[in-house]
Symmetry: C2
Subunit: 472 residues, 2 copies
Amino acid sequence: MPPFGLLHMRAWASLFGQLLRPRRAVFIREVRVHSQVAEAVLTSQLKPHQEKSHFVIKTPKGTRDLSPQQMVVREKILDMVIGCFKRHGAKRIDTPAFELKETLTEKYGEDSGLIYDLKDQGGELLSLRYDLTVPFARYLAMNKVKKMKRYHVGKVWRRESPTIVQGRYREFCQCDFDIAGQFDPMIPDAECLKIMCEILSGLELGDFIIKTSWKDVRHEMVVKKGLAPEVADRIGDYVQCHGGVSLIEQMFQDPRLCQNKQAREGLGDLKLLFEYLTLFGIAEKISFDLSLARGLDYYTGVIYEAVLLQTPAQAEESSNVGSVAAGGRYDGLVGMFDPKGYKVPCVGLSIGVERIFSIVEQRMKTFGQKIRTTETQVFVATPQKNFLHERLKLIAELWDAGIKAELLYKNNPKLLTQLHYCEDMGIPLVVIIGEQEMKEGIIKLRLVASREEVAIKRENLVAEIQKRLSES
Amino acid sequence: MPPFGLLHMRAWASLFGQLLRPRRAVFIREVRVHSQVAEAVLTSQLKPHQEKSHFVIKTPKGTRDLSPQQMVVREKILDMVIGCFKRHGAKRIDTPAFELKETLTEKYGEDSGLIYDLKDQGGELLSLRYDLTVPFARYLAMNKVKKMKRYHVGKVWRRESPTIVQGRYREFCQCDFDIAGQFDPMIPDAECLKIMCEILSGLELGDFIIKTSWKDVRHEMVVKKGLAPEVADRIGDYVQCHGGVSLIEQMFQDPRLCQNKQAREGLGDLKLLFEYLTLFGIAEKISFDLSLARGLDYYTGVIYEAVLLQTPAQAEESSNVGSVAAGGRYDGLVGMFDPKGYKVPCVGLSIGVERIFSIVEQRMKTFGQKIRTTETQVFVATPQKNFLHERLKLIAELWDAGIKAELLYKNNPKLLTQLHYCEDMGIPLVVIIGEQEMKEGIIKLRLVASREEVAIKRENLVAEIQKRLSES
């Protein structure tokens, strides 16, 4: 693929230059502790006859904290994903973490049991959102919006049996892009697939393939027709086939497969889709695959899912993460919320950022390099005792000039402690103030990487720092 | 105050140049609708004997969606707040939206009744987080972190009686900065106040004052001593006083106020705090005020709260939003989670971004200017019929070069419709492709603001667009 999002790719390269350091083991292990307060609560209020008098300090099952290192990686990945959504002209919205329980009802089929309900504390019955798609459809219907290209980044919650090893959590972040509105066929659908390709290429996760199918075609051909013995074998052949334009062309020509109107129309649209994908330069990344099914009830028409292709070495590491992005068309969902059943056709995609984080974390472990978790540019140090007042005055000047600066919160820190802190934290510059220099109207600037020190006129300090930072 | 965070201030100025447009009324009104699906659910499953057969499509009480216009404002404000936190060397963490119920128990005093509990669906008892402070303390204790300067931006939930007019919601965003660790007295406390000043000045919300008090001093002097008749009047005087260094000095010298050791030490530390605030150049923004109280149980030592001062005109508009930032010291909270009661002293602040959004929205209403909700740079148009393929090929080239581009999802849109779209959306450039130009190997670039059109060699298109975008 030609290079796109050059800035993003460069950012990614520079990210990898810094961020690779093993995950802190501390965030994996559960720390079991005993708390007097908790004990009091457990024994007196919550569970009056509880025998065990201690509880575990932990995050809820299937959830986790993100450490500063993890947050740096997450934010870089989200920046790239959001950058792509913006490149395609999307607006951002937000919706509440919970919805009226009835808003979510009958949207998820078998998965409905995985919805988190809130306790009835009086008032409305509420549930945590299960995805960002149903809230978007509710938003469109409620505000009578007929046309919108939007993205949404937020957490969703599912009461799944968590198998954290595979990167599945009960709380996870979703990044959704959707196009709502009545348009000429397959143009928005093709753009969604283009976006998936751009994001997966841009993140440099390795080779990938996007499998597409067509819910109605699949239903007609596999579920309904599959029961008729005379075409069963024929269908079986197609289900096992993966392919692009030529496969669709072949199916389209097959009279036995085209006798059903809905299936025939679906195949016609798929042909059109592959034409557009070819113009977008991504046809070779997309494979038509009737074996693909998506669990959610609301899909209609085209559905798709991206999977990473593994090298044999990766497969051996058992870092199998499966689907990293998915989506499809859901033309009926908004109508379920409209009083007159007015439909707003929609197509969209969701990036499985949680899985992508897992892959990148795995890499970090492998490479074992250091990540900077702060952006501090200058450290204010002194070798002198009783110099806190001067340090505070100076650092305020730096902050007020927009410079990212830190000092140690001690009255009389040792110089070596201060310099070690800078090396540990990767802070590039140190301003060193002392009594003698102050009398002479100068100040020392130390470059942490080279340990070089230069004397600077006190009044030029801010300008000199800004110059050096803009050059680096 | 001297200018700080120049880039941020410039960003803010440019924000105000664009973002002022009346809020879409559509997000305020509740749309009442009737849904057949919901009816089926209501009558069959949820409430079998329900008489009313329709429900309201809405967000839960006290919550709201954010429109693209609101998201633009919110993101600009969050960028500035986060920029300040980074300027002070903070790392970012994240924690789950819900915690074990017992983690939140006995931390919020009277406010505990406002915690949202999750329904018991088997497994752990869970509650939505009420603030970001208790999860931070849990994080420190769980990971045995003794020292950390972190920020956290996320939603919290409180079952308050919502009075949305005042900008109070049941779901709202918090931006917290905290310094954990054992340090020399009052240095981190002073930095927290400095950060509050930088953010409130940087957001240009108008004049503000930060009121500080001291929980222990207040307790000793107001609650305990207030009962002793012989000092009641004396205390009453101080409670009514607001002031800086000189007031504290005066109280410090008053033997009747200093007979209690804890109160005396508190006053000594307050004196030190005001010294540091003077060095930071913000002493005149801070007022000592014993009438200040903060509801939460966990505070110890210094507490503070920032309020906007209103011009008479603003007060008339009744845009009273009260406190916009608050915080304080909580030295005991982490110890409540530690098995051995090991304490990690903490001090921090929380920015009331929800109130700040309300103020900015109010201004938007007043100014009535337009906000761009997308960042699209180039629109791909044609006056020609049957030119979809050429448009798709061209736009893919732009996307792949990292250019933010859109087209209409129609086979044969009218040129006027396409140009109107660009003017509506504020897209600065239009690429216009036609058959004749294609034959000649050129392409037209239209500058939307001036309606000027220039012919460009086809092969130079991307470079020319990038040049013009970097200049603008």
